[in-house]
């Protein structure tokens, strides 16, 4: 049964663009069928009445007031949306929308306005991304393609063309990069330093750069390659260019390379190139360690191990937060927004000799069956969960239903979660989780990691506090959270 909720705020002055963004965010929340955020003039009240979302409270609004009106599928979804809106209205700066950005209709016009431009960040639908990338390259721009759904043969052709022009193509499906201190896409605020990262995975780059930052070190550059650069069809074009670039970069003293296990032929050409480098490398081919490394390289099976390796931490196992031994349910359910974090948790379980299932299984893990009768790690960013919905990094509500299901399952004793902060992500994922958990009966222990830094738009310390107050155990890293889960099982 739909409910109509109105809230009126007196004399609220926000930029039109901020109001528009907030209203879009609210409309995208789970269970919200319609939402409007406009000042309470008679004409606007007519619009809301016409849309069937004007309630008695909204009807009393004055022209100087702001009306938030929404129709939700049930009262709980409506109240959650009102709470989210209130928070956004109270802290519009958290949206980061106060800065004015001039816009154009074409790349040509934009380049005329910013003649010093050297990079195009492309986030159009995948079907159009390659065409836009080619246009951008015509203007001599390096390209970062955030979009996914680009055919692999198009990716390979584009990267070869770019190499001819001596231009980088980061992506497709490149969520994160940090170039000379400038975060692009989803990225965290990390200090500049002497560690370079080359990563096929956005959340992988985020986790490693944040672990490095929280240890007091910094990042020279983080170059995203896109998830398929090390596939045989693409042949590591971007990875090899990135190695060359970091080799030539005086600031970079150590390089971390993060990817899923590559095709054997590609691994060989990449490692051959690494061998010629004068700099030490840490190679993190998530889960795969059975390849011959050159003398200047060490391998790391997990993101945490890669960070430890580069920081010189002596293979210390992650600091585990104390988690009580499980007495009821004996199964672990991981619900991840970050795909690579989901892989890393599986790897930690496999390293401990535990069987694990996933919708995106790493080598050694099994594909998820319909019935969850084992330890399960679910990547909520995978297509089956995001079809028609935003990615869980934008919208943590995507996790609500699977989390409710896990908490209601008596066989689940522990739930593993990741909370990913940074530019581009949701403004308050911990707050969303805390609101979801408030007053909800639960037997299972919840263990989370928080990928981010205190300098992020959502400061990590505050996010951690929110989680702890909500009764969530917070680990120092994603691998640490998985280790804590294993410890709670009493098998480690």
């Amino acid at each position: 049964m739909s409910v109509i909720l109105n809230e009126v705020r007196r004399a609220t002055y926000l930029d039109s663009i901020v109001l528009m963004r907030i209203s879009r965010q609210i409309a995208a929340l789970p269970g919200i069928e319609e939402a409007g955020l406009i000042i309470g003039t008679p004409a606007n009240k007519e619009i809301l009445r016409d849309a069937g979302i004007l309630g008695p409270e909204g009807a009393t609004a004055e022209p100087g007031d702001l009306i938030l009106a929404l129709r939700a599928s049930d009262a709980r979804a409506g109240q959650a949306a009102l709470a989210a809106a209130t928070q956004l209205l109270d802290q519009p700066s958290a949206l980061g929308t106060t800065a004015a950005v001039e816009s154009s209709r074409t790349i040509r016009a934009a380049v005329q306005r910013l003649p010093a431009a050297n990079l195009a960040l492309i986030s159009v639908p995948g079907d159009f991304a390659v065409a836009e990338a080619r246009k951008a390259m015509e203007f001599g721009l390096h390209v970062m393609i955030f979009s996914d759904n680009v055919p692999i043969e198009d990716e390979a052709a584009l990267k070869r063309e770019a190499r001819e022009r001596r231009l980088f193509v980061m992506g497709p499906d490149c969520g994160t990069a940090i170039v000379a201190g400038g975060p692009l896409g989803f990225a965290n605020v990390v200090p500049r330093g002497d560690i370079g990262i080359i990563g096929a995975s956005g959340t992988g780059i985020q986790e490693v750069s944040c672990l490095i930052a929280r240890a007091g070190r910094g990042i020279s550059h983080a170059i995203g390659t896109g998830g398929r650069d090390l596939k045989a069809e693409v042949g590591a074009v971007t990875t090899l260019m990135a190695i060359d670039a970091l080799e030539a970069d005086d600031r970079t003293k150590h390089v971390v390379l993060i990817s899923k296990p590559p095709a054997a032929s590609v691994a060989r050409s990449v490692l051959d190139r690494v061998a010629k480098s004068s700099k030490p490398f840490t190679i993190c081919f998530l889960g795969a360690t059975d390849f011959a490394l050159p003398a200047n390289a060490r391998s790391a099976a997990t993101l945490k191990a890669a960070a430890d390796s580069v920081l010189g931490a002596s293979a210390a196992s992650p600091v585990k937060p104390p988690v009580r031994r499980l007495d009821g349910g004996r199964l672990v359910r991981g619900l991840f927004a970050g795909g690579t974090l989901c892989s890393e948790a599986q790897i930690v379980f496999r390293q401990a000799g535990l069987p694990v299932m996933s919708n995106v299984p790493v080598p050694g893990a099994s594909a998820m069956a319909g019935v969850h009768d084992g330890h399960v790690m679910i990547d909520l960013g995978d297509d089956e969960f995001t079809r028609g919905r935003p990615h869980p990094m934008f919208e943590p509500g995507v996790r609500d239903a699977p989390l409710a299901e896990a908490l209601a399952d008596p066989s689940v004793g522990l739930v593993l979660l990741d909370v990913v902060l940074g530019y581009g992500g949701h403004l308050d994922p911990a707050g969303h989780l805390a609101a979801f958990l408030a007053g909800r009966e639960r037997r299972a222990v919840i263990v989370a990691s928080v990928t981010g830094t205190d300098a992020d738009p959502q400061p990590r310390d505050a996010q951690v506090r929110t989680l702890v107050e909500a009764g969530v155990v917070v680990a120092d890293s994603n691998a640490g959270a998985a280790e804590a889960a294993i410890a709670a099982l009493g098998v480690s």
């Binding site: 004399a11 002055y13 926000l14 930029d15 039109s16 663009i17 109001l19 528009m20 209203s23 955020l37 406009i38 000042i39 003039t41 008679p42 004409a43 606007n44 007519e46 619009i47 016409d50 849309a51 022209p63 100087g64 106060t98 800065a99 004015a100 001039e102 816009s103 209709r105």
Partner: protein, 312 residues
């Protein structure tokens, strides 16, 4: 943080000067990244650095980083002709201020030239205007073409009322106040944003009618708007509408309208894009609508002596 900083006001709009003469006590009403608003009674002024552009209600001063002053909404301001003291942190001095008012309008193109400009501008609006506003869906696009957002759906018949009214006024040379008020009331306070899209539309229409010398229509619309305003829109937007009714518009809109009537579509689109998020293009929706009606009227009827003079 800067405390008790003295900020000389470099330029002051004519209505902002009037504010300083007539208002003694004001409050900080809203603080944005690059400017803030003072409110005294129903009147507002905007204070900001040179990058916000001149306007009738604007004081331009070298503020540096506005956030350094840590101004808060609600802070009191003592106002006199020579200076404005805001809270404990800022003193604006008007001793050496230069007065700013909208410059005279340029000479406008022939009706045929204006027709071409109208068409070119509508094409630009269909791509450049923000999705949420009136310019993209409200005007210049056939009713039947595809999907329109809720605002445009509701605004269209209201814009049609305005068009019929303006057409009638231009034909007859006068208007009944009641008809004029109905045309204005349908749009005042309509739409999202700090200045609702309908208000921006009317500001644009007023500026265009003034610029092309349609004095009867401008006066009738101005009178209707000022009569109808109370209670229909946000106080700040009402203040900007009253200024436009008094023939005073900001620098960017002036530039946009001047470009339209001299046929420089690129400059007009650029100027529109510089005003707010969607306000500039919402104003252009009013400019294009009023221009379309005025051109049609001029093509049908030989210009009157006064119009001929305005058209040169």
């Amino acid at each position: 943080m800067t405390r008790d900083a003295v900020v000389p006001v470099l330029r002051s709009g004519v209505l902002a000067q009037e504010f300083c003469r007539s208002v003694a006590r004001a409050n900080v009403e809203a603080v944005f990244e690059r400017c803030f608003y003072l409110r005294g009674g129903d009147e507002f002024i905007c204070v900001g650095g040179a990058d916000i552009g001149d306007g009738p209600l604007t004081l331009i001063g070298n503020l540096g980083r506005l956030s350094d002053f840590q101004l808060q909404p609600g802070w009191p301001a003592a106002v006199c002709e020579r200076h404005i003291v805001i809270g404990k942190s800022m003193r604006l001095t008007l001793d050496e201020t230069e007065s700013w008012h909208s410059p005279a309008w340029p000479i406008c193109l022939s009706p045929a030239g204006l027709t071409d400009t109208c068409a070119a501008l509508a094409r630009r609006a269909a791509f450049e205007a923000p999705e949420e506003g009136l310019a993209r869906h409200g005007v210049g696009v056939p009713e039947t073409s595809g999907h329109h957002p809720p605002l445009a759906r509701i605004a269209r018949p209201r814009i049609a009322v305005f068009e019929r009214w303006l057409s009638g006024v231009l034909d007859a040379g006068h208007a009944r106040l009641q008809d004029s008020k109905e045309a204005a009331e349908a749009l005042i306070g309509l739409g999202p944003g700090l200045t609702p899209s309908g208000d921006d539309f009317l500001v644009g229409a007023l500026a265009l009618l003034d610029a092309i010398g349609e004095r009867h229509a401008h006066a009738a619309l101005a009178r209707a708007i000022t009569d109808a305003l109370p209670g229909l829109t946000a106080p700040l937007s009402a203040c900007l509408l009253r200024a436009a009714a008094a023939g005073q518009v900001g620098e960017a809109l002036h530039r946009a309208v001047s470009s339209v009537i001299t046929g420089d579509v690129d400059a007009a689109a650029a100027a529109a894009g510089q005003i707010g998020h969607s306000s500039g293009w919402d104003m252009m929706a009013g400019v294009m609508t009023a221009l379309g009606i005025a051109v049609a009227a001029r093509l049908e009827t030989p210009p009157t002596a006064a119009q001929a003079l305005a058209l040169s």
